[in-house]
């Protein structure tokens, strides 16, 4: 806890300074609220709308968690499959990378045409953006398993299954967690974007409504909440990592 405080004061001070400059600038140059609201405007807007906003917030959180869980399951499954079947890996690895070159903004309306306005197209978008970091980092982790330990396991007569669950999987956990952290932040963004294209609820909907009626303060409330949500997700993964990888404190390998 103390460590967080001693390390965290610099970025905190920077943010505070930024907010102060922002506040002063909007007042000094008398910038209109619909162009750029001052931090105090955003704060009072937040106080006004929070009850209405909460409903959208809950919807987005649910969507994010659902999409994230599906995304990491798909990512892990893909990684395990590609790791176990080298032929399949050689054939499909390029497709894995290509999947990341599809611009989501273009794909999203198509998905709506194909699957309607339900939650399916949204979940697909989130899955598409967060399975990749997991798949790549997990695959990398599996492939980099210490040769010595693999040799030991084989000499001892381990089956392929035992080799995977007792050695390769735990060995890859630190890399899987790096992937999880990236995916966690992506999933929030992806959820908001998916809500832009036709949804009844969610921060994305709230944002589009606010933008089209020039209620810029509201847009900023949404932006800040999205950022905080991303950070929280990231923090939860870091916490989980600390719990699961207790042995990794010093990064010691034997």
């Amino acid at each position: 806890m103390r460590q967080i405080f001693t390390k965290g004061w610099r970025p905190l001070a920077a943010i505070l300074l930024f907010i102060v400059i922002w506040q002063v600038a909007t007042r000094v140059f008398t910038i209109e609220e619909w162009l750029l609201p001052a931090p105090t405007d955003i704060l009072s807007e937040a106080q006004h709308t929070w009850e209405e906003f909460l409903f959208h917030f809950v919807a987005t959180v649910k969507l994010t968690i659902g999409g994230f869980i599906i995304g990491i399951s798909v990512g892990l499954a893909v990684a395990i499959l590609l790791h176990m079947l080298p032929r399949v890996r050689e054939t499909f690895y390029p497709f894995l990378i290509l999947s990341q070159n599809i611009p989501i903004i273009v794909l999203a309306p198509l998905l709506v045409i194909w699957f309607g306005f339900g939650s399916l197209p949204k979940l697909i978008i989130i899955t598409l953006s967060c399975f990749f970091p997991i798949a790549v980092s997990a695959l990398g982790g599996f492939q980099q398993t210490s040769r010595e330990l693999v040799h030991y396991m084989k000499m001892m007569g381990a089956t392929k299954r035992q080799l995977f669950w007792k050695l390769e999987f735990p060995h890859a956990l630190p890399s899987i967690f790096s992937g999880l952290k990236i995916s966690a932040t992506y999933s929030v963004m992806a959820a908001v974007i998916s809500e832009w294209l036709g949804a009844q609820e969610g921060i994305g909907v709230f944002m589009t409504l606010a933008t089209s009626s020039f209620r810029t303060s509201r847009v900023f409330v949404a932006i800040i909440v999205v950022m905080v949500l991303s950070l929280t997700f990231f923090g939860l993964i870091v916490l989980l990592e600390k719990l699961v990888l207790k042995w990794n404190k010093k990064g010691g390998t034997v």
């Binding site: 210490s146 330990l149 030991y152 007569g157 050695l167 042995w247 034997v254």
Partner: protein
């Protein structure tokens, strides 16, 4: 009893092992010495079943175990403990692979090995010698009664090494499992084993087999005896010839 029968093996166009035959009786301690790169580790990989020999067979009692795994227990040169497992969990892995765990026995053996204090520690919290001891306990606890040790002490300093040799003798004399032991040190081979197999290099053949005459239990006094020096000279001459 483990019998290696006329094994040969090549990699590419290089013949590494040629017509190697060995026998390790029940409860016997056999050392294998030979020049670096002569193919000792390759022989282990063949006995472990990871490689298919070009010719010859490997038998364990009445079973032909050529190119099948799971019949031997193994201790590598580097401790190769799993960093995410505690020492206790580490020494149980061999049993886990074969399906039954005897935690009580494991704790008892760790206690005897002087690792009682650290059974719940992670490997990175241990010294090199302690890790090596844990690695040996792991090999002993594995259900296979036949142990292959590949230069287990070569990464340790001289003092720790002698301690470990005495410790290994002590533990082994209690358990009496069959051991095939690779080493570069003639002292180590003479001090520990019943039989020393000297290999030649390029391709490796069995040059000569020495029966070591020292009575058991042995203690470190014999390292300084006339008899020991005489044997050391004999083995050395054979290695260099």
């Amino acid at each position: 009893m483990l019998s290696v029968k006329q094994i040969s093996k090549h990699f590419g166009d290089k013949i590494v092992l040629e017509d190697i035959s060995l026998e390790i009786a029940e409860g016997e301690f056999v050392s294998l010495i030979g020049p670096s790169g002569s193919g000792k580790t390759t022989l282990f990989n063949l006995i472990g079943g990871l490689l298919m020999p070009d010719g010859g067979e490997i038998w364990k009692n009445e079973d032909n175990i050529t190119n099948t795994t799971g019949h031997i227990s193994y201790m590598p040169q580097h401790a190769s403990l799993f960093p995410w497992r505690t020492i206790l969990q580490n020494v149980l892995i061999g049993q886990e692979l074969q399906g039954r765990k005897e935690e009580g026995l494991a704790k008892e053996m760790l206690q005897k090995a002087g690792l009682g204090e650290v059974i719940h520690s992670y490997p990175h919290e241990l010294s090199g010698g302690m890790k090596q001891r844990a690695s040996f306990i792991r090999a002993l606890l594995s259900p296979q009664s036949f142990l292959c040790l590949d230069e287990p002490f070569s990464a340790l300093d001289e003092f720790t090494r002698l301690d470990m040799q005495k410790w290994l003798l002590h533990i082994w004399e209690d358990n009496q499992q069959s051991i095939l032991f690779i080493t570069h040190s003639i002292d180590e081979a003479l001090f520990l084993s019943d039989k020393i197999v000297v290999l030649s290099a390029g391709p490796a053949k069995v040059k000569r087999v020495f029966e070591v005459p020292f009575a058991r239990p042995r203690d470190e006094q014999i390292l300084l005896s006339e008899e020991f020096l005489k044997w050391k000279r004999m083995v050395l001459e054979e290695v260099q010839r």
